[in-house]
Symmetry: C2
Subunit: 435 residues, 2 copies
């Protein structure tokens, strides 16, 4: 597909697209930062309007007035399951199969260790975990620690080496569905089938998928999945994460973080651990009820899309937004060294668009942020592929609240930043400790 | 000490004690539930007044307006260390030695597994974890899972067997400082010394100690400690917990939950885990900022006591409150089968008073709750000591906000409940799922 074969949208065209957008109404669920184009919902989703009052209610009434009676009266104890059931609707899981709890890293530890336990029982030789070099680092760190503890090997590959890496030594294939840097999306169904054909279990990280792209864990025959609450689910900073385990695996073993919330009868205070049935055993300790309340409001903003076509409609809009962005950047920002690293092919793309820039990615993003166009910078990972090795600018497209005119404006700002060279100012070149 | 040797306080005496109480002013920091006597701050601390506005500010301004810039601008990323430094002041730890993070269960997993790793490196034969049968169950569950994984044995003892249990097989002594049921408090310094003399490391759970009794981890030469944010620290339902590691151990090994927040350079996105210096490596994933904000407000209510004598003054009042409660119950509620299980000896008592009742503990507590006197029921643990094996009524005394007149009134309600026999009504006998 060449850009010369298609008409390049003007700003007026984008405004008309917004007017014709059937999902536009969903935007009113959110407090959008004024005069800002927020293309970072894949780092931290924006604040839903309902959240402010809901969190205040948890603080003042549920905690302040009802105190410990809230464990029953206000559904605190069941919150991880209740919210898990809602998330399940977004990822092709059934009710009772997901809990919202802890962090993505910790949930990954629970499921990866369980997958390793199953693999160790099934085979005396399979002792390799395969993952991508460009996977989100915390996933690799968790795997490194577990491999060191259990005498497994972590084999890091490039995305293109996937099929050849799945040999008879592999116990678990651990992948992030949509890559946090490049936006590349795996075909979950075919990759899972390849892993199973090779005798390996699959662990999927849905951090950049849940609420962003359609996911069907059961259709893919996936084994384990974890995901993040504060990106596309709009659950707020450090929101509880979630974990799913296929029912065929859920009750086979204890998960190692065998805390009292995962006990079959937590309030019996038995000295002997007895895991709860199903996914509840993947709970561990007492959960933040403020975090849970905000997460539930965030998930509800996605469930509100169900009457408008749900994840399929959101996906259609998301692709239209990222198509538009890539097309406009290619047409209007050529000659400045930006190289798109996100696949143009829809089936391989998540809900973002990333561009490598050999020297200026950080400063260009800082200059955009100064203009209130908020995206992300991600440093190139040493030892990665060509794309992984370069610094990138990352733009996330959240179809719940982003419009086509905003995409047009964002690209116009990017064009001005590049054309003026304003990003070369010293103030934009100095890196902050946390970006 | 016999109750007949001392004058039994009348209600007027208690009111005068409140008027003379130099800590009385601290009560005004809290939203106290109206017409309620709350003796359950050891289950869930009450709401500090400052928390409501602070949490709202995190939601609307920090999240809603500042969005991802809050990681730097509003101190999100350093919150676990900043709040950890405050908690350190309450438990005899130094700045930079504590982080607020995750849950008590998960933090226990981190430190117990690290202690086991150290023990395994020091000795080929020490493979026993000693703990109490009456320890809080989640601690035992975590230990059971780790023992099963690593070929260790969990040896559960009665409190009286402690010294004889510390033999040359013991790798780690894992205890809760103040028992959640009985209120028995270990002498942390002498028990730690005995463990070290026997060649074992110590892991202390401070869930019922931090903010309740003076703790001096360095003076006790303790090795590892964890604790809870939502009890005496008033951090709100499911508040982040905390973890302390003696500096001599902190950097010796990876802890198993090696997530990106524990990395030396988390935003370098290196595929290789490299643990941060000091206690920061005991962080794992992204933390709930709503939970962190509420926890900080809660900890601040304790730091506000520092100008009034700090934990020593709070301890003095706490003992006066529990002394009064026990004395009044013995004098005014005799003959109804209540048996005090909390030690009368101050050095052995935490900040609570528990009473066994062979048949009516649950119903008596329900009848008290109906009168808005809020305490806790705890079921007898099978296989425990005589005291552990009986159902108990548990009353917590939080000197920050509880007064002597409230203690008098609580005992008067208890007397009326017992004398009238109203607790035998069917509505009080039926157990709820979660209590």
């Amino acid at each position: 597909m060449s850009i010369f074969e298609v008409k390049i949208p003007r700003r007026r065209d984008c405004q008309l697209m917004d007017m014709a957008d059937p999902l536009r109404v969903l935007r009113h669920q959110f407090v959008l930062p004024p005069d800002t184009i927020y293309l970072d919902g894949n780092s931290l989703g924006v604040l839903p309007k309902a959240t402010t009052a809901r969190v205040a209610d948890v603080v003042t009434r549920e905690w302040g007035e009802d105190l410990i009676t809230s464990w029953n009266k206000n559904g605190w104890f069941d919150a991880p399951r209740r919210i898990g059931d809602k998330i399940a609707q977004l990822i092709g899981a059934a009710a009772g199969e997901v809990v919202a709890t802890d962090t993505t890293s910790i949930n990954l530890y629970k499921v990866l260790s369980t997958a390793m336990t199953i693999a160790a029982q099934n085979s005396t030789t399979r002792r390799v975990i395969v993952s991508e070099r460009g996977n989100f680092p915390t996933d690799l760190y968790i795997a490194q620690a577990l491999c060191a503890e259990r005498g497994f090997q972590l084999h890091l590959i490039d995305q293109t080496e996937l099929t050849t890496a799945l040999n008879s030594d592999v116990a678990v294939l651990m992948l992030t569905h949509v890559n946090y840097r490049t936006g590349f999306m795996h075909d979950m169904e075919s990759v899972t089938a390849a892993a199973h054909h090779a005798g390996a279990l699959t662990v999927w990280d849905l951090a950049h998928s849940a609420g962003a792209v359609p996911v069907d864990l059961h259709a893919a025959l996936a084994d384990f999945a974890v995901g993040c609450g504060y990106k596309y689910l709009n659950g707020g900073p450090g929101a509880p994460a979630f974990v799913w385990v296929h029912p065929q695996h859920a009750e086979r073993f204890w998960q190692p973080l065998a805390g009292w919330w995962g006990h079959a009868a937590p309030f019996a205070f038995s000295p002997q651990y007895q895991p709860a049935a199903g996914i509840s055993r993947f709970l561990c300790g007492t959960q933040s009820m403020l975090g849970m309340a905000a997460l539930e409001c965030g998930v509800d903003t996605l469930l509100a899309a169900q009457v408008h076509g749900g994840m399929a409609a959101l996906r259609k809009k998301s692709l239209a937004l990222s198509d538009l962005f890539i097309q406009l950047v290619e047409h209007r920002c050529g000659g400045y060294g930006l190289e798109v690293v996100t696949p143009q092919e829809h089936s391989l793309r998540g809900s973002q668009a990333s561009f490598a820039h050999s020297k200026g990615a950080y400063a260009i993003m800082q200059a955009l942020i100064a203009r209130k166009v908020i995206g992300d910078f991600r440093a190139g990972a040493a030892g990665g592929t060509v794309a992984d090795g370069e610094d990138i600018l990352r733009f996330g497209f959240t179809p719940l609240y982003l419009g086509f005119d905003e995409v047009w404006q964002a690209v116009e700002h990017l064009r001005q930043v590049l054309e003026s060279g304003e990003w070369k100012a010293e103030k934009f070149m100095q890196k902050l400790a946390v970006t």
